[in-house]
């Protein structure tokens, strides 16, 4: 799925996949931190946004 999104022009770091058990609190925190950093680096998403006006 990530491959096709990237192929269609959605940045690789915009979408993340992870498998975290409810017992893995530290993994959750680590993953969220990493995702936040990567997405912040990309800046706001301008693609695939629906304009309701």
């Amino acid at each position: 799925m990530g491959n096709l999104l990237e192929h269609m022009g959605v940045e690789r770091d915009r979408v993340h996949f992870s498998w975290i058990s409810s017992a893995e609190a530290t993994k959750f925190v680590d993953v969220v931190k990493e995702i936040s950093e990567k997405v912040r680096a990309l800046g706001p998403n301008k693609k695939f946004v629906k304009d309701y006006n």
């Binding site: 799925m1 990530g2 491959n3 096709l4 999104l5 990237e6 192929h7 269609m8 022009g9 959605v10 940045e11 690789r12 993340h16 996949f17 992870s18 498998w19 993953v31 990493e34 693609k47 695939f48 946004v49 629906k50 304009d51």
Partner: protein
């Protein structure tokens, strides 16, 4: 008359007469030149309506399942692969369908031929590799090989993979150095270039859903685009909604698409709908060594788990 058509008619007449099948699904001449339409023949007299030529670009596997009684179906290489997919996905039992396989020499790109003429095409005839196409102002003789559809040029399974009888001699399969030149071209672009490419690709889409309806693997009783509660995607011409339709439909085809080209064949706007699924086909081959619809005894990659499955995308 073409020996292949002759053979198809003989086989169909025989099957109907013996009562082995209730009906035969095949192609009939369309109402305009360079067009054929699917037809269901239930009587021996009706078999004279059956034709086969290089304008039979739709995929008849679409009509294989949800039929009452046993049917016979005329199937090119790609139609056969979609019948296999239907069997693998439990839409059809092998003994419910009698497959009349037709080794295929490729179907023509009608948009490309129409573009050669300024006026309407009024005649289309073919003899082996030579096409004779005419309009009211001119007649052109074309080489079929130069006007094949893009998916047929890249097809490596022209011969039916599963059949009960053949209506012609097997043809030579081509071996390609690179099976995905079109995908490579898009992959070579940068991320914004690719976004722009797909944006332009779907800009003329009128959401008629002809591509989905022509697709043999799009058989959901209610497609996600038609659902109203919940409504997954807006119904209008909003660009993001149009893209949502195309993106999601593509994902639904992952590991299932046989690149039969029926979506492109059906699109009235000349959109190369295959650009979406081609990438998935390339990934399926590279990551899982999988090509859809080749073997009724194999489970598709998204339906089976193996510890060897690639997992570098997940944290």
């Amino acid at each position: 008359m073409d020996t292949c058509i002759q053979k198809i008619r003989e086989l169909a007449a025989d099957l109907l007469e013996r009562g082995e099948v209730e009906k035969v699904i095949g192609f009939a001449q369309g109402t305009i030149p360079m067009a054929t339409s699917p037809i269901s023949v239930g009587t021996k007299q009706g078999v004279d309506n059956l034709v086969f030529n290089s304008t039979c670009g739709l995929n008849l596997a679409n009509f294989a399942s949800r039929q009452k009684g046993k049917i016979a179906i005329i199937a090119k290489g790609c139609d056969c692969r979609n019948i296999v997919t239907h069997i693998v996905e439990n839409q059809l039992q092998r003994d419910q369908v009698y497959i009349i396989g037709v080794p295929c020499n490729g179907m023509v790109n009608k948009f490309k031929i129409a573009a050669l003429f300024e006026d309407e095409i009024t005649g289309f005839a073919e003899d082996g590799d030579t096409l004779t196409v005419s309009s009211s102002s001119q007649t052109k003789t074309l080489k079929k090989q130069e006007y094949l559809r893009e998916n047929c040029l890249l097809c490596t399974h022209k011969n039916p993979v599963l059949y009960d009888v053949l209506a012609g001699d097997l043809v030579k399969e081509q071996v390609l150095e690179n099976a995905f030149p079109d995908v490579d071209k898009i992959e070579a672009m940068d991320v914004d270039g690719r976004w722009q490419y797909f944006k332009r690709l779907t800009q003329n889409c009128i959401r008629c859903y002809a591509c989905r309806n022509a697709c043999p693997i799009c058989y959901c009783p209610t497609c996600f685009v038609d659902e109203a509660g919940p409504q997954w995607v807006g119904k209008g011409q909003n660009k993001t909604d149009v893209d949502t339709f195309h993106f999601l439909r593509a994902f639904h085809c992952a590991g299932r698409c046989t690149d039969c080209g029926a979506c492109v064949e059906a699109c009235p706007m000349g959109i190369n709908v295959r650009d979406f699924t081609r990438k998935l086909n390339k990934d399926a081959l590279e990551l899982f060594g999988w090509e859809a619809g080749l073997d009724i005894s194999k489970r598709p990659p998204l339906d089976a788990y193996s510890p060897q499955d690639p997992d570098d995308f997940i944290k």
